[in-house]
Symmetry: C2
Subunit: 337 residues, 2 copies
Amino acid sequence: MKRPTIADIARRAGVSKGAVSYALNGQPGVSEATRQRIVAIAQEIGFNPNSAARALSGASARAVGLTLCRPARILSIEPFFMGLISGFEAELAARSYALTLQVVSTPEQEVEVYRRWWGERRIDGVIVTDLRENDVRIPVLQQLQLPAVVIGGPGDTGKIAQVWSDDAGAITETVRYLVALGHRRIARVGGLPDLLHTRTRTRAFEDVCTSLGLNEAVTMPSDYTGEEGGRATRRLLIGADRPTAIIYDNDVMAIAGLAVAQEMGLAVPGDLSIVAWDDSPLCSLVHPPLTALSRDIAEYGAHAARELLAAIDGKQVGNVEAGTAHLTPRGSTAPPR
Amino acid sequence: MKRPTIADIARRAGVSKGAVSYALNGQPGVSEATRQRIVAIAQEIGFNPNSAARALSGASARAVGLTLCRPARILSIEPFFMGLISGFEAELAARSYALTLQVVSTPEQEVEVYRRWWGERRIDGVIVTDLRENDVRIPVLQQLQLPAVVIGGPGDTGKIAQVWSDDAGAITETVRYLVALGHRRIARVGGLPDLLHTRTRTRAFEDVCTSLGLNEAVTMPSDYTGEEGGRATRRLLIGADRPTAIIYDNDVMAIAGLAVAQEMGLAVPGDLSIVAWDDSPLCSLVHPPLTALSRDIAEYGAHAARELLAAIDGKQVGNVEAGTAHLTPRGSTAPPR
DNA sequence: AGAATTCACTGAACCGGATAAGTTGACGAG
DNA sequence: CTCGTCAACTTATCCGGTTCAGTGAATTCT
């Protein structure tokens, strides 16, 4: 089947290619009657502008890029990224932008992908996740002047827009809640230590523990996998002064932690309270259902997409807070016995 | 920053645009010495061919499309699709094809997306998941002559390539195993009833139960969500003749089913054995760990991507079996008490 | 030696849109 | 009645690659 082009439309409408282009793009230069005739013909023959031709002459490729930097086995189980993608899509599809995805394994590879995409003019902008301290991607994006929105801050991204959630506030609220229940020994199983939001959480955790007079604020670093989360939990629970409550940086690790507690004969929440960060349907499925820090991840993603589209349109965008988590108490938290 | 073009390279090398194109694409028409000089210059200035220009003149857009047709809340929690995507990516990235993603909510929308992508010449081929009976997408893809690979069969897809796993064999093996353990009342919580592979599983389940002389083979339809899976489990377990084993069409529903059993005071595996289809790390995390039908989903996806790339290259591709699930016994199955 | 072939490369057309610059014809003002 | 203005187009050029039809020189063949 041959794809229809504006030349086909022009022929059928008895006008020039230029007129068709003006008509379909809502530009001035054609009469309303002609415009409607052209639009009707385009509809009828099912015309879609060739994105390559459009990208070649005009500016926009009408596509944005997203790289995912996690091993496959984590990607598949972590609900976070899929939620984010769903959110992006809702916004992008509404403005008929395409989403181009690439899975990488290191930030350096990610930089390579950005450079290639930019060189290929394949995308108009990127969404950057997992901000790190002194992130190598930031200077490259600035140098390429590639519109971008960074998720995972707040951090130092120069003029690049950010969408972030107030993790420090969320963890402070959580610790206060646990202390109010009577807990004094609270530990945390953290995410990848390199990520900026992990550091933010760790610092906030330490600060609030200090200010509430808790003697120590142990954070076991981990990598978001259930395996590691379970291992970290085991290490926390075999100590003499084992914690009575643990906060996990994602839901998968929290579920693994729950399994470890049960395996060690500890009652949840009687002997151990558990809080999961990021609420997915999984948290309500296990027994007891997990108290979680819920946030609307899809909306978070949608917000980022809106900011990115604004940046691509040349609007000035800055630093936006969105999708801060709030505590959803369920059966996994209670006063310590 | 200005993007380098072949004209820039041509100028620096003192040759014509055409020569550069031949050199970089490994075409004959330039001497080896010149080719190396040109390649070196391209490397040095970090040249990437403009994908739009390439797609416009040549044939290939060097991109393939994937649509995901599930509500956001299922997508985020279902490890299957992310596993599939990881697998695709591994193959696509190796041949520097991009993956374009679109989330839709109905097969009709999916058809629209295919038409648009085709018209825009945005992609060279698509991967089609969730094959249905009399699938509306198949005739459209044939009409557009859009290279495609279908996952979720086997089914009738005409000349379009398929990659499928032997679900019938897997469920037969599972039922035989449960029967060998001593189970006589085996039920199943199925996936979306419209999907062809759900039907395949249901029919195979019924067949094997009949051939083994089990009186009934109840399949409760569901939608892959934990909620529905839990509900279906509850309905199965409140009956007088409650099953002693349940097979779930995905891992999320199996975990939900486990929670329901525990909530109802049934011991797993003592009172109820549970088998999950598709093994994710989640299955090993819960307590007891779930016996599962494991398959390498990423490899399944990689296989599909390879077939698609072959189809795009104009090679004849047919009907390939890949990634059939095999039973991985864990703690959730045992002889009935 | 002269013709034929091969090699290495150039120049120009082309893909399908966007868009700046030029060309009509109608209309209103002076 | 003529000039200027404006709407409604057309024409031509450009984007950055690919590719085909030359072209001149070197090599091979007879």
